[in-house]
């Protein structure tokens, strides 16, 4: 059934820089403004009386159809963003490029004749700008962080790991991505030096002196690391990025040196004792000869 809704088709709707589609209670198009006509390539005359899935047969309209049903049943207003639902409708800009859009779905009309208003917002420019910025940032980021031989982890201010580079997963024996979302305590629990550094960072004391800690690998084995960390803030929220240098070799060398020092003392003591024994023996022999 196509209702005649002359009052809905205001010429003002055709002046908007936003797509406006109005559906009746049967989810059939009653209004299709000039903007959506241009972006979809479907004229208002052709669209009127059809349902969205008939107009866009190849599109994945699950979310939009649920939102339409919710608005007609209970008046719910829904927002469908390009972030979670990219390119819901196959729309084009006047120059023929993909048109990125957000969609809002809300109820209109009254109890007797429920209507659903779908508005389509062009976010192509903003999306493209965001994507360019993100790609540039990610390229820089990957070049540095992904290839770094040192472990790099970023934590939120509750101590949850939000980022771990490949050296982190490898160094601690985790699968890629496995560390993200876990508390940093899985790596270094009961490390007073770290706890002190963490408290200092969160209270904004600036750059902290690097400290040595013993971290725990997934298999439970210890790993000696030197940690340097700093705090950064995004959208009012603090993050801590820590760089952990593997000092296991240095630690092993120090340990060997310490061992050598300890045995050196022992050897010196033994040698001295031997020398004293010989001296005593010589002294005793001398005494014997004098007699």
């Amino acid at each position: 059934m196509i209702r005649a809704e002359p009052h809905l088709n205001s010429p003002l709707l055709d002046t908007l820089d936003t797509g406006v589609i109005v559906l009746d209670g049967m989810e059939q198009v009653v209004v299709w403004n000039l903007w959506i006509e241009a972006a979809s390539g479907i004229t208002a005359a052709a669209a009127r009386g059809l349902r969205m899935e008939e107009l866009f047969p190849g599109a994945s309209l699950d979310r939009l159809r649920r939102a339409v049903a919710d608005s007609l049943e209970s008046g719910a207003t829904s927002l469908i963003t390009h972030v979670l639902h990219p390119l819901v409708l196959p729309l084009r800009t006047p120059a023929g490029q993909e048109l990125w859009h957000n969609i809002s779905v809300r109820a209109a009309g009254d109890e007797a004749a429920a209507l659903c208003v779908i508005q389509v917002f062009d976010v192509t420019a903003a999306t493209r700008r965001e994507r360019v910025l993100r790609e540039r940032q990610n390229a820089r980021y990957h070049a540095v962080v992904d290839s770094a031989p040192d472990v790099i982890v970023t934590l939120d201010d509750t101590g949850l790991i939000q980022l771990a580079n490949p050296a982190a997963s490898q160094g601690f024996g985790y699968a890629p991505g496995e560390l993200v979302g876990r508390p940093v305590d899985v790596l270094f629990a009961d490390q007073s030096e770290w706890d002190e550094m963490w408290a200092g960072l969160l209270s904004g004391q600036g750059r902290q002196r690097p400290v040595q800690i013993v971290a725990r690998r997934k298999d439970g084995s210890p790993s000696h690391l030197e940690v340097s960390a700093s705090r950064w803030i995004s959208d009012g929220r603090s993050y801590i990025t820590a760089i952990l240098r593997d000092v296991n070799e240095r630690h092993a060398a120090e340990h060997a040196l310490r061992l050598l020092n300890e045995t050196l003392e022992e050897r010196v003591t033994t040698a001295l004792a031997e020398r004293k024994r010989l001296a005593d023996m010589v002294e005793a022999t001398d005494a014997l000869i004098r007699l």
């Binding site: 699950d62 979310r63 649920r66 919710d70 049943e73 209970s74 008046g75 719910a76 207003t77 829904s78 927002l79 469908i80 963003t81 390009h82 972030v83 979670l84 639902h85 957000n102 809002s104 809300r106 109820a107 109890e111 429920a114 965001e130 993100r134 940032q137 990610n138 980021y141 970023t154 939120d156 201010d157 509750t158 949850l160 939000q162 980022l163 890629p176 991505g177 993200v180 979302g181 995004s234 959208d235 009012g236 929220r237």
Partner: protein, 224 residues
């Protein structure tokens, strides 16, 4: 029990819990279609508390930072709906709904819109269940993200008249092996609360009249 809890009795709160669970069950189905994996949402409890109590519960005495998705609703029930959770869980929720292994920078950038849409689905689930019970519709605003300490969320201008009572729904999400819990807070004015009470009574009478009492409680945990 606070003086405010006299506004809705235990039976009415139980009925509301059941209705809201049906609503979040629908929201879970929408989220599942979106995420492509099982999503469980449930509201184990609904409490009617004073504004100060609500702040105490949400704050946990730590002045912790929270994030909220806010929508206004108007009609026979008028007020604000807020989906609130600790800011620390916000990135986790975005990670859960976007899936994949997006870098932290991407997650931070997508956070605002992804949260808005996800919160919108959940709040619509709760509000739609109440609207359906009313058998009429509520007008709702688009979702908006708020951040900060929770006393800010409860002092948005203009305050609802006598808006000292908050319906607080504890809600748990289970998405991609992540358990994330938060609260839905409904701030309504007194006439709305009285309408809600009346409508819940009618609902209970209908339910008790239509079905034997022992089957009435069977659909408490709505998850899809």
């Amino acid at each position: 029990m606070t003086s405010s809890s006299a506004v809705l009795d235990d039976l009415e709160l139980d009925a509301l819990t059941e209705l809201v669970n049906i609503g979040v069950g629908r929201a879970a189905a929408s989220l599942r279609a979106m995420v492509g994996e099982q999503v469980h949402l449930s509201v184990p409890s609904v409490r009617l508390v004073s504004r100060d109590e609500a702040i105490g519960i949400l704050d946990g005495g730590e002045n912790r930072k929270l994030v909220a998705v806010h929508q206004l609703f108007q009609g026979d029930l008028t007020g604000r709906a807020l989906l609130i959770f600790p800011e620390a869980k916000s990135l986790e929720l975005v990670r859960a709904v976007t899936g994949g292994n997006l870098p932290l920078e991407d997650i931070i950038e997508l956070e605002q819109e992804a949260l808005g849409e996800t919160g919108n689905i959940i709040l619509n689930g709760c509000l739609a269940s109440m609207a359906n019970m009313l058998r009429r519709s509520l007008r709702m605003s688009l979702p908006e993200i708020l951040r900060g300490e929770c006393n800010i969320f409860f002092s948005l201008a203009p305050p609802p008249e006598a808006g000292d009572v908050v319906l607080l729904l504890y809600i748990t999400f289970d998405v991609r092996q992540r358990d994330i819990s938060g609260y839905v807070a409904l701030l309504m004015d007194m006439p709305s609360l009285r309408n809600l009470k009346q409508l819940l009574r009618e609902f209970i009478e209908r339910e008790l009249g239509a079905e034997p009492v022992d089957e009435h409680d069977s659909s408490r945990a709505a998850s899809e």
